[in-house]
Structure formats: C-alpha cells, structure tokens
C-alpha cells in the first residue's frame, strides 16, 4: 500500500501520477478463511479492520454482492452524533464518534470528518422536555451536549424560521462535537486498510446459502463457489432477514425503505446539521454545496431501494416550514436504502443459534454514525466469541428477556 502524504503527492506530481497503484486488491477467493464477513459496507469492513488491528486475525474475507459501499454506506445522509438517551446507546455511539475523530490518521485516508455540530430542534413542549432530559442523561454519560435557546439557534442557523406556522422553535439539543463525514471514503479507507493487512475484499460475490453441521457454520455458498470458514459474521443491514433465513433462524427485524434527497448546489448557507424530528426532516450542506435532506421511512416491508413519493412531499413540506428558502431550491436526486428496523429501534450485535455465527444488524435509520464503534464491538464478539462491554446489551435475545433499549420511545421517531 502506498502511504498517502504531502510528500507522496509531490513525488507523484513529478511522474504524471503513474505510481499510485490500486487502493485495494481484487483477489479470487481462497478455499477457506478463519473468518468470513458477509457484507462489505461500512460496518462489515470496520469489523474486519478491527479483527486485524486489535486481535491479529488477518485470514479474513469480506464478501460483497454488489460493489464496495454501494448499499446503505453510500445512501445515507452522513450524520454523526451520539446524543442518545439510553446508556448502552450513548456508550457505543460515543465510542464511534470518538473513533471518527482520529479515523483519517488511523486509516491514512481522508474521511473528511467535519465536527460541525448537530442540532435537534425542539418544536413542541413535549419535545423540549424530552431533550432537557436527554441533556441531563448525556451529562451523566460523558456525552457533551447542551440545550440552547431559540436565539442561539438563530445565531447558529441564520436561515431558520423560528416562528413556523405549526411548530415554533422552542430551543434545541446541541452537540458541538457531532458532525458529518464522507461516506464513500469511509468504505474505501477501510477496504484499503483491510487489503493492506492481507484480507480479501471480494466484490460481486453474493452469498446464496449457508452450510452448517452440528450447530456450527462450516461454509458459505456464493456466486464464486463454496468458501469454508471457521467463523461467520453477518453484517448485511437490510438483507439480514434473508441471510438469517439461509442460516436457519429468524430475526426480530423488518426491512423498510428510507429515503434521502439532495438539492442543486448553492453557496454556503448552513454550517451545522439540523434535525427537526417533530415535522420529520433533517438537513445539512455538503462540501459541494448541495443541501442533503433526509426524510421518513415507509411503514411497510420493502426491498426496492426506492420509497414512496408522499414521503418526499412530507419531508420537503416540513423543511419549507422551518427553512423557507428551501421552497426556491430544485432537488437534484432522490434515492432509497433498505434499513433493518428492530422493535425497540436499537441495533443487534449478537450471538446466534449457530455457535460460530455472529450477527450485526438492526441499525435501522441511523447506522452510518455507528460504523467504527459497531465494527469495534462486533470484532470483539467475533474474536472472543463473547460480547464485550459495548455489545453485551445489544443481544438479539433481549426481546425475549424484556431488556429493551428503547430508543424508539426516547427519540419518538426514526433516528
């Protein structure tokens, strides 16, 4: 792997940039591996990265049915925050946020982490009380958040309309260290680091079946042949149900389409991320100048990677109330991703009925922010066979035991 640096750019400038080489290799699969990770999205690649980095397990293949980062990793609105109410959530999301801070240095790959601040608007009295509670919970959890007044909101976001017709802004929960990062760079950076450790990132390789014997996975059938493994990690987000079905168990997960859209690029007008959960829309401005807008999820099972038109209408209507200038914008692109929703809207990092098979799913509408923390916790589970402190609350058996991590009530909406 070529080390990226200012010196490397200068050196390559002298030879017409002919010496860069590929960022990651595209090998043919071996007959078997110590660990196979299904899904080369952010979470799968991060899992493999930490398996190699923290546990020295490098005989690893990461199988991807499409292209690298072509699923939800490339379809989100890149928001990173950790202002959660429940302790297990705050712990893993805050770990994740802190890993983002040093990720560019750790990977030697610029992921453009921009801690520009995330603001969650309180637009009803109920929501205001909820965020005041979250602020206090965050103080105990060591997560740096603050409830700010409408005047402070207006100062940070001059384009906002505080006196909306339906929902005036009563304040906001402000996390200054939260922000955004470049989603593709995250996948590419992890893939490059994994490839450098000798792992195999195998694209265009769909898993079609899981072979098991005596309660243990022995191999996976793929479009590139059968590949043996000693351990299997399933990290496939929206398609977790399909993979679990191949492995012979069911999950407390349903897959729905979540949509996002971007506007035409405009001059810089908003340098923070604003989330309006009551009216349900959130918005930030990308480095290219596009307004990146996230909206609602459909209420029914869907694998089509496109959502309903009326959700776009609802999202844009909400944003026009809060940001009147949005009414003058043209929208450039709209897309959907398949997200896996659990009953309590918290993720699953868990052992499964198969002894050497582990699953990481259920991140629902908010997985991007969790990518490094999720990989960190999942790698520990795969390496040791038992969850560490970050993952233990997120077992899929928590539903049976009544130990919900109820962010669906805490957030009131998708999060």
């Amino acid at each position: 792997m070529k080390h990226y640096s200012a010196f490397a750019i200068a050196r390559e400038a002298f030879r017409q940039h002919t010496g860069w080489g590929r960022a990651w290799a595209s090998p043919e699969p071996r007959a078997s591996y110590d660990v196979i990770i299904v899904g080369a999205g952010g979470h799968g690649l991060a899992t493999a990265y930490f398996l190699g980095k923290r546990y020295g397990i490098k005989n690893v293949a990461i199988l991807e049915k499409g292209w690298l980062g072509g699923g939800n990793t490339g379809r989100n609105t890149t928001i990173i925050r950790s202002n959660y109410l429940q302790d297990p959530s705050a712990a893993i999301y805050e770990k994740s946020r802190s890993l983002y801070e040093t990720m560019s240095q750790d990977l030697n790959y610029n992921v453009m982490f921009s801690p520009r601040g995330v603001m969650m608007l309180a637009q009803t009295e109920h929501e205001k009380r909820g965020y005041l509670r979250t602020e206090r919970a965050n103080a105990l959890q060591g997560v740096d958040t603050r409830f700010i007044s409408p005047a402070e909101v207006k100062k940070l976001v001059p384009i906002i309309n505080l006196d909306g017709p339906r929902y005036p802004v009563l304040g906001a929960l402000w996390q200054e260290r939260a922000g955004t990062a470049r989603h593709d760079a995250l996948a590419w950076g992890y893939a490059r680091a994994c490839s450098d450790m000798g792992m195999h990132v195998i694209e265009q390789c769909a898993v079609t079946g899981v072979e098991s014997a005596g309660g243990e996975v022995t191999a996976v059938n793929t479009t590139k042949g059968t590949i043996g493994c000693k351990k299997l990690g399933i990290v496939v987000a929206g398609h977790s149900g399909a993979l679990a079905d191949m492995a012979g168990f069911r999950l407390p997960v349903e897959s729905v389409a979540l949509q996002a859209l971007v506007s035409e690029p405009i001059k810089p007008c908003m340098d923070v991320v604003v989330m309006a959960n009551t009216v349900h829309g959130y918005m930030s401005q990308s480095d290219k100048g596009e307004m990146v807008i996230g909206g609602g999820a459909d209420g029914y099972n869907n694998y089509t990677q496109r959502g309903s038109w009326h959700h776009i209408e609802e999202t844009v209507r909400a944003l026009v109330e809060t940001f009147p200038m949005v009414s003058r914008l043209k929208m450039l692109r709209q897309w959907g991703g398949i997200v896996d929703m659990t009953g309590d809207r918290s993720p699953i990092i868990s052992k499964t009925p198969l002894g050497n098979c582990f699953i990481n799913c259920g991140w629902g509408t908010g997985g991007f922010k969790a990518t490094p923390g999720s990989g960190y916790a999942m790698a520990e589970l795969v390496a040791k066979g038992e969850p560490g402190p970050l993952a233990e609350a997120f077992s899929m058996y928590r539903f049976r035991e009544g130990r919900f991590i109820d962010e669906s009530v805490a957030a009131g909406v998708a999060h």
Partner: protein, 107 residues
C-alpha cells in the same frame, strides 16, 4: 405509490389513504407456551424478499382492517382480502402462483 382495494367498502385508493399494520396471520402463542414461542410471536418476523402477507387499515376511509398479499421486491399487489381469515384464501394463492410460479406457498 401502492394502489389498494379495501375489501370491506370496495374503494380502490392510493396508499396514503391506508395505514400499514405489519405481518399478517401471526399465530398467538397459547396458554402454557414457552418464552421462546412468545418471543417469536411478539418480535420475530418473516421479512421475506418476495411474497408478503400483511395487515392494512383503511384509515382515511371505512376504518376497517383487511389483509393484502404484496411483493416486497416489486411492490406489486396480488390482491386484498378480509381480515377474518386464518390463512390466504384460494383465489389469492392462485393469483400469486400465476405471477410467481416459483413461490413456495404460504407457510
């Protein structure tokens, strides 16, 4: 945009007139069932890629619940039928079989 026909009042309308209600034909675990059975009934879902049976409510119409068969890969609606059934009726199964010959059937 899905188009659904309410079998209770006969109105065909866009999905904004209806509210989705999740997987249909869930069998409630009876008295004396194990924790695992109750867990499965409460939380575990088929979540299939393809033919899915689900509950809908005509929320902005007659207000009644009904059931629908729909493909989660194409959003094609195969048909709707009354909620007072324990499994998909023969004509719905036939309609699905006509369009999805490989479908394994309701299980």
């Amino acid at each position: 945009m899905l188009l659904l026909t309410c079998p209770c009042c006969g109105v065909t309308a866009e999905e904004t007139e209806f509210a989705p209600g999740g997987e249909a034909h869930l069998k409630r675990s009876g008295p004396g069932s194990s924790d695992a059975e109750f867990d499965s009934y409460m939380f575990n879902r088929k979540n299939p890629r393809g033919v899915h049976f689900e509950r809908w409510r005509h929320a902005h119409g007659c207000g009644k619940w009904f059931l629908a068969a729909r493909c989660t890969m194409t959003l094609e609606v195969f048909g709707t039928y009354p909620a007072q059934t324990v499994e998909p009726p023969a004509e719905i199964v036939a309609a699905i079989k006509a369009k999805r010959p490989d479908w394994e059937g309701f299980a």
